[in-house]
């Protein structure tokens, strides 16, 4: 099927919208209320209007389905005029404080306004006055900046299946809020941050911790160290030379962090390897000793929040392993001061994460002081005048948490924890390594739920990978059904895994997630060691400190407990 966009014939697929076809063919039609990768029936912003042959009215391209022979014009004078008028009205009732807005310079709304040629305020509209919600340690909401596009609502309900926020009230008083409008901290929100990632304005943003980090760096008494999650270098490669691997990017990031004053930079991937050794051992222990099955992974804090706030009955199914961020935090505190002869009270641990829920987690558990998202890195560079693109120095991550196997790097993507776990579980169950290439193809892919069985020696392990919380809520009953007899389930809250996390760059889309996943597979393929238990640093850690997996020491440092945290609205 072909349609014509501005006179050019373009191939279109059944069910595609004109907006999607246009984007694919390089024509960007402005749009606020729709998202490329989520259902959006609202068509409320009307910015995406186009002229179509045979229609005297302007039509919204986000709902206009491609039909063979359809001819549309996306940027005629009439269309441009209509779009600018819409934008002028939005701007008129928007607070005029771009200069002090956290989105300043990265704001989709102001970019759109500029693109559409809004140059002066022709209207003066009533500006809303709602309190800013700073109740949550992960996300802040400023409803005055909201343009009611509804993306966050779509994502929270239809993609994540949580439904913590919705349109509330009517008319001029309409706003997006949790049920009964209290703070996000007492709502059903799990802090996945997907809403913040898609918001075109500063109405929902990560809690900005850049100033905390800058203050720590400036404190002469503080020794500030960083840990960097594997998803971050895999993301920062965008816009950089393709030949550079993830490893090189990690080293460039480490060098830049040291330039702004960090005393040491560690690789959170190390803790991912450690997580696998502990988690695979825990799984085996449960299988052999009649523990609660299926066991669910616990490395995605928004998923842990989901269990604690929505389904505390599932707590026994959660692995007791801390997330890699928290394992790393605990170990850095335990080991680094001794190694460097430092008073532990002077140590400040900063994580660089693709995730907003990690901000909540860091506040909930001990070990990590501040969490910066991938997006906040840009602000950190801004404070110190670092042009990261041109910083080519490299610094290897610091011992003792410098090493990561291919398995640990896979953690950043959906299926990665499972794949890494299978590699190690095989050894634990069968007493021998997976033969040949340890790639576990069944764990990879982007479908919502992937179920498969792995044979290790005599034993069969029934496994499932759940890609995104939305798919989890749909399939939970089935996963728990004893008939399904699953042993182990990986759940990542964000679609695609951490590479699509809530703290990731605003332009993260399906394509970007796909490319980041491919980079992870590539770095795994090229790694010298590809099994978590082969990590020499991890082995040394067991020798020197932990003894063996699930030992008393590892329980003290690497495992955790969970709490029933149902908010009022779930409890009644």
């Amino acid at each position: 099927m072909k349609i014509s966009i501005n006179g050019k014939k373009v191939e279109a697929k059944q069910g595609e919208t004109v907006l999607q076809v246009a984007k694919r063919s390089g024509v960007d039609v402005p749009h606020l209320c729709s998202l490329d990768w989520a259902p959006s029936p609202a068509a409320s912003c009307r910015l995406c209007v186009v002229e179509a042959d045979g229609s005297s009215r302007l039509l919204t391209s986000c709902t206009l389905e491609a039909a063979d022979g359809l001819a549309v014009q996306t940027h005629t004078p009439r269309v441009l005029k209509a779009r600018r008028a819409i934008m002028e009205l939005l701007v008129a009732s928007h607070p005029q404080d771009c200069l002090s807005c956290v989105r300043g310079g990265h704001c989709e709304l102001s970019t759109l306004a500029a693109d559409l040629g809004v140059r002066k305020a022709r209207y003066v509209g009533a500006v809303k006055h709602h309190p800013v919600d700073i109740s949550s340690p992960a996300l802040w909401r400023d409803p005055d900046k909201c343009v009611l596009c509804g993306r966050c609502v779509t994502v929270c309900h239809d993609v994540q299946g949580v439904g913590a926020i919705d349109f509330t009230g009517r008319g001029f008083k309409t706003r997006v809020a949790p049920g009964f409008s209290p703070g996000l901290n007492v709502s059903e929100c799990v802090f996945c941050g997907q809403c913040a990632r898609v918001c075109p304005t500063g109405a929902i943003v990560e809690r900005d911790q850049v100033d905390d980090v800058v203050a720590a760096l400036a404190d002469p008494d503080a020794v500030v160290v960083a840990q960097v999650a594997p998803a971050v270098p895999a993301t920062l490669m965008e816009g950089h030379s393709k030949s550079e691997g993830v490893r090189v990017m990690l080293e460039r990031l480490a060098a830049a962090l040291k330039r702004v004053g960090f005393d040491a930079v560690f690789d959170t991937g190390f803790a991912a390897d450690l997580t696998i050794v502990e988690e695979a051992s825990e799984l085996l222990d449960r299988v052999r000793n009649g523990g609660v099955l299926p066991m669910f992974t616990s490395c995605s804090p928004a998923w842990v929040n989901y269990v604690e706030t929505h389904r505390p009955d599932l707590i026994p199914h959660l692995s007791t392993c801390k997330s890699p961020q928290q394992m790393a935090g605990a170990l850095i505190r335990e080991i680094y001061p001794k190694r460097t002869d430092l008073d532990g009270r002077r140590l400040v641990v900063v994580s660089v994460m693709p995730c907003t829920a990690k901000k909540f987690e860091a506040q909930d558990l001990d070990g990590v002081d501040h969490v910066l998202t991938t997006r906040e890195l840009d602000h950190l560079w801004g404070r110190f005048g670092v042009d990261f693109g041109t910083c080519t120095e490299q610094a290897p991550p610091d011992p003792p948490f410098a090493e990561t196997t291919g398995a640990g790097r896979l953690f950043a993507g959906s299926g990665g924890v499972m794949e890494a776990a299978v590699r190690t579980a095989h050894l634990l169950v069968a007493g021998s390594e997976l033969e040949g290439d340890p790639k576990v193809a069944e764990a990879r892919g982007r479908e919502g739920v992937r179920r498969f069985t792995v044979t290790a020696g005599e034993a069969e392990l029934n496994l499932a990978v759940v890609n995104g919380l939305g798919r989890l809520t749909e399939t939970l009953d089935e996963l728990l059904d004893p008939q399904t007899s699953l042993h182990f389930v990986e759940v990542m809250s964000c679609p695609g895994g951490c590479v699509g996390g809530g703290g990731q760059p605003y332009d993260t889309d399906v394509q970007a997630v796909k490319e980041r996943l491919e980079r992870l597979y590539e770095v795994d393929r090229r790694s010298r060691t590809r099994r978590a238990h082969e990590n020499a640093g991890v082995q040394a850690l067991y020798e020197d400190l932990l003894g063996r997996p699930l030992s008393e020491a590892s329980h003290r440092l690497l495992h955790r407990t969970y709490t029933d945290r149902r908010p009022h609205s779930v409890q009644v």
Partner: protein, 177 residues
């Protein structure tokens, strides 16, 4: 727990769909006088829909209120005739004197003030209805006298069920804006 809501939902067990959210909320409000948080949570559970959605829908419609009606209900007419005769001043006076909250209830919960489009008594504008009785040709002084009398007299009439009292707090604020 919202007893009324529970009963109403139990009655329809097994035949509930999300399309029934509004009739369900209406029925609960009719039984309980307002929509409590508990009632909305019960509805959300029964319809297997997020609480935020039930709250969002309920706050969209004027007909729902979210706090129990006070002992005394005052309806202030904001129709055209009353508007011309300064009924806004009456409404604002009540707001100040009774320390009205966003939902139209006084701080002590004894009074509920609602603004209505027209009470149909334009000949005696500006007019209010206090516990079902009309009071016309009002000024802020006369209004004060009326309230003073009400406060002195513990035996004031009990409020009837006012259909026009069933309004969402949002709308009242809209008009105040």
């Amino acid at each position: 727990m919202a007893a009324g809501a529970d009963a109403i939902i139990a009655e329809r067990e097994g035949e509930l769909t999300r399309e029934q959210m509004i009739p369900l909320l209406q029925e609960i409000q009719a039984a309980e006088g307002f929509l409590s948080a508990e009632a909305m949570i019960t509805v959300a559970d029964a319809l297997e829909t997020p609480v935020s959605r039930v709250y969002g829908v309920a706050t969209f419609y004027n007909q729902f209120r979210f706090a129990p009606v006070g002992e005394h209900v005052i309806e202030v007419c904001r129709g055209t005739a009353c508007h011309v005769k300064q009924s806004l001043a009456l409404a604002q006076h009540l707001e100040r004197r009774l320390h009205l909250r966003d939902d139209g209830n006084s701080a002590d919960g004894r009074y509920t003030v609602v603004r209505v489009a027209c009470l149909g008594a334009c000949s005696i504008a500006p007019v209010i209805k206090l516990d079902g009785a009309f009071y016309g040709h009002l000024t802020t002084e006369k209004l004060d006298a009326l309230l003073d009398e009400l406060e002195a007299d513990g035996d004031a009439a009990k409020p009837d069920a006012f259909p026009s009292a069933a309004r969402a707090p949002e709308e009242q604020r809209d008009e105040a804006a």
